[in-house]
Subunit: 230 residues, 2 copies
């Protein structure tokens, strides 16, 4: 029997975490199918970063799915609510940048595509440590999603393929993620993390995402190659 290349669907936001995940999946020998979402973000700078990163990692295909999360609203990232700045990183409540059911929605599209591709592995860059308090980044959520996915699909039910939701970053600190990525050749200058960039794409340096990123680079002992607003 011909050995078929193993395929992975990788959720790609264009941020630091998902770029690292893509590099990890590539390192593990998967043929890469990246999936990004155009979801009524305030900025498409994220998507441009996703394109750059996908290209740099030689993905086989990059699907960009348009979905209208604005119709649902409820988040600073999808509605006209201000992005909080300089929020202490020790804050444990769920911030307004949380997008209701976002990872669930994203994983569901990835699952549909994985089924069409015959890919058993779905990679997502969630993190249980530096997770900004998002409920859909926790290991117990991922385990429940995986279980559901295997009951949801024709591939799981008829062909007995076991879907795996792969979360290689889940127990890493931001600094460890960065070190891992640099080791695997990730060019972090291509990535974008800021929730509230300037129109020309400069990171604000003060939203949760910028704070976590800056702290990560500082702890890893590398300079952050992206540009910040002065």
């Amino acid at each position: 029997m011909e050995k078929r290349e193993k395929r992975a669907v990788v959720l790609l936001s264009g941020g630091l975490d998902s770029a690292t995940v893509l590099a990890i999946a590539r390192h593990q020998g998967y043929q890469l199918y990246a999936i990004s979402f155009e979801y009524g973000q305030r900025h498409d700078i994220e998507l441009q970063a996703a394109h750059r990163v996908a290209h740099s990692m030689q993905v086989k295909e990059h699907a960009v799915i348009a979905i209208d999360l604005r119709r649902i609203g409820g988040s600073a990232l999808t509605a006209d609510i201000e992005v909080p700045k300089d929020r202490p990183l020790t804050e444990t409540s769920i911030p307004i940048t949380y997008v209701p059911a976002r990872n669930t929605i994203f994983l569901s599209f990835a699952l549909g595509w994985a089924e069409v591709l015959g890919a058993a592995d779905i990679f997502i860059g969630v993190n249980a440590l530096d997770y900004s308090g998002y409920p859909d980044c926790r290991p117990e959520y991922i385990a429940a999603y995986e279980k559901m996915a295997n009951l949801a699909t024709s591939l799981g039910v008829e062909d007995r393929v076991q879907f795996r939701i792969q979360t290689p970053l889940i127990y890493l600190t931001k600094a460890e993620i960065i070190k891992k990525g640099i080791e695997l050749g990730v060019d972090y200058s291509l990535t974008h993390s800021c929730y509230d960039p300037t129109p020309d794409g400069l990171a604000c340096g003060h939203c949760d995402s910028c704070q976590l990123r800056l702290k990560g680079f500082a702890e890893a002992g590398f300079p952050d190659p992206v540009a910040y607003k002065k």
Copy 2:
């Protein structure tokens, strides 16, 4: 404390089943938030039916979410694959009209909206008997989805609201669904079930969905009020 009206998000395709579910949720006293999807169907006749049904049931809001399932493909309903006709209803394999991860994707948007609305109940018209062999219509799938949903969301985690995926039709035959709907005042002339209608909206009478519908009306002892192609 002011008694707040209980809200339900109801998945509404414009078909017979979801129209009945909407009537059941209304009968149970919920304030109704219907959600439909524009997902690259070959026809928008389904969405027109959804609008008619939503209006007839006095829903509080009807959200139509545009999502591009064509980018994923893999189904006669989202790609250029022919809809099978006169397939025996006793056939147990999963048909090509199965859309990969469709209910998972739809429920995930419903979950996001439910969280924004503070609605603990999500209604979906899945059916374990006349289910055309779709894996994402089975009770074990729904149970797994519900478990995942309660780990996915801020409402579930911080506010300890228990989401329920309500499937009032799951163990009913098509004939029982129709009888129930007629009892609750559903006007089935507003609904649309056919996978492959004529451009002016006549049902084909031969796809799985038409066959199940016609058999259901015949067994229930009522005439089907929609028009079929001669």
